[in-house]
């Protein structure tokens, strides 16, 4: 059994509801993400948000990102700060980057928003670009990049902002196996870069998401309920399924996947 403790609350959703007109989409969403502490390891958090298509994942994603306000309820981070656009790193599904900026310019835009690297923006941009292997793409415009390069550029841009929360909408969709592996490693690398780094992944790809997560939230709708809510929370550390490289072949992992699929 891995030794760990769940410490202070990093993010808390309190009775979040969202409706469009009279159509409720999300109903009484409650969950919190706590800092996971492992002795001797700098361990961030990786949380997966799973649910059927059309259930409201993207809507919840936008609320968490602060791009939209809930109809009622609240989402707070770091104690009791109401989440606002700009607080979180947000990687959108199609890795949008400004078409009229070179990658370098886009990265600088983000770096300038980060007070922690003030004065050292250039070094920071170069370091991340080298780490993620897109140095030669820096002077290019987005349309000159491959899908994979674009994705990395988009992720680095949000990393450079320096916020400890990173939200990903469908980061694994449309990737071939090789690139998928790279992205997974990249996310893991980010997740251990800081004790407080918290990755929230919204995805269809249950297997990949669960394999790298420590906690899974399942968004679902009970018959008769007005909107989707968190139906289940699975603590993967407790089940000894977190932070392991070859987790996918273990029986307990496969059972957990089955359990999740049955809940969706």
């Amino acid at each position: 059994m891995t030794e760990y403790t769940r410490k202070q609350q990093l993010l808390h959703a309190d009775n979040v509801c969202l409706s469009y007109g009279h159509k409720p989409v999300l109903h009484n969403i409650n969950f919190s993400i706590r800092n996971i502490v492992r002795p001797g390891v700098q361990q961030g958090q990786v949380v997966s948000l799973l649910g059927r298509s059309g259930i409201g994942k993207t809507q919840l994603f936008r609320l968490l990102a602060g791009l939209q306000q809930p109809t009622s309820g609240s989402i707070t981070i770091n104690g009791n700060k109401q989440v606002q656009a700009g607080d979180m790193g947000v990687v959108f599904q199609h890795y949008y980057l400004f078409e009229w900026k070179t990658i370098q310019q886009s990265l600088y835009m983000a770096a300038h928003q980060n007070p922690a690297i003030k004065g050292n923006e250039k070094a920071a941009v170069e370091k991340w670009a080298a780490d993620f292997d897109i140095t030669e793409a820096l002077p290019c415009y987005p349309h000159q990049l491959s899908g994979g390069q674009r994705q990395r550029a988009s992720i680095i841009q949000q990393l450079l902002k320096g916020s400890s929360f990173l939200l990903f909408d469908e980061p694994f969709s449309g990737l071939d196996v090789c690139v998928l592996d790279k992205v997974v490693n990249m996310l893991l690398q980010v997740s251990v870069s800081d004790e407080l780094k918290t990755l929230i992944i919204v995805s269809h790809d249950i297997e990949t998401s669960v394999a790298i997560s420590d906690t899974v939230f399942i968004l679902g709708k009970e018959p008769g309920e007005p909107g989707a809510t968190i139906k289940k929370e699975i603590d993967l550390i407790e089940r000894d399924l977190a932070w392991q490289k070859d987790i996918r072949r273990q029986k307990a992992f496969i059972d957990t996947l089955e359990e999740i699929k049955a809940t969706l």
Partner: protein, 231 residues
């Protein structure tokens, strides 16, 4: 093919291509043509410049509700014909030159605004979202997404609407002939039934239009290298 058809259908009324070419050569040898072209070009460029400034101000501000309705009114103004405006503008302006300038501006602005508003309306939500995630406020977002991000579209709109401005200039110049211009020239030749010269002039107007279209597209690619491949 067109030339061939033209040649054979030419009769007493319609001058043959040969004669038009001669007239063209004659015209271009005279300083009269070039002076008049210069006058017209200066007027068009000046009007376009004013028009684009007015358009940009209205369109940029159209994110604010009051200016949004103003912009929408502007869009409807496309249906005001210039002929109807002449009277109003004659009352408002002192001399022929300003009258022509403002008539032209009034004629162009609605088309510019229409085009630019559709550019703004078609901006994808994710462009705004990206700005918000970077923590930008509304003004910074307006600046990044609309002012800087759509600068290339401004030139595209000028290019697309240059033809309209060019069409209007010949009309507007008929209003006040004292300053000259190709529109004036055209009207003069028309009056004397000099169809050969009219056609020759028409060709000059056509070629100038093409030249400007080309120049504008080259400038656009040079100023905004990122559009090179997206088309």
């Amino acid at each position: 093919m067109v030339l061939g058809w033209w040649h054979f259908s030419a009769n007493g009324l319609m001058p043959a291509p040969g004669r038009v070419t001669v007239a063209l050569a004659e015209l271009s040898a005279s300083s009269q043509l070039w002076d008049n072209i210069l006058t017209s070009l200066m007027l068009t460029i000046k009007a376009m410049l004013y028009a684009i400034i007015i358009t940009l101000l209205i369109s940029w501000l159209s994110v604010i509700p009051f200016f949004k309705s103003l912009a929408q009114v502007m869009v409807k103004c496309r249906y005001l014909t210039l002929a109807g405006l002449i009277f109003v503008f004659t009352l408002l302006t002192q001399n022929g030159a300003t009258l022509k300038l403002w008539l032209l501006i009034a004629g162009i602005v609605p088309f510019f605004v229409t085009s630019f508003l559709s550019v703004i309306v078609n901006i994808h939500q994710q462009e705004y979202d990206l700005c918000k995630t970077l923590g930008y406020n509304n003004w910074r977002t307006l600046h990044e997404v609309i002012i800087v991000g759509k600068a290339d579209k401004v030139l595209e709109i000028i290019q697309q609407n240059f033809a309209i401005a060019w069409l209007m200039i010949t009309m507007v110049e008929g209003v006040s002939m004292s300053e000259g211009g190709i529109g004036t020239l055209l009207i003069k030749y028309n009056k004397y039934n000099d169809l050969t010269k009219v056609l020759a002039l028409q060709i000059v107007i056509f070629l100038l239009g093409l030249l400007f279209d080309y120049l504008l597209s080259v400038t656009r690619l040079w100023l905004f290298p990122y559009i090179r491949k997206t088309k």
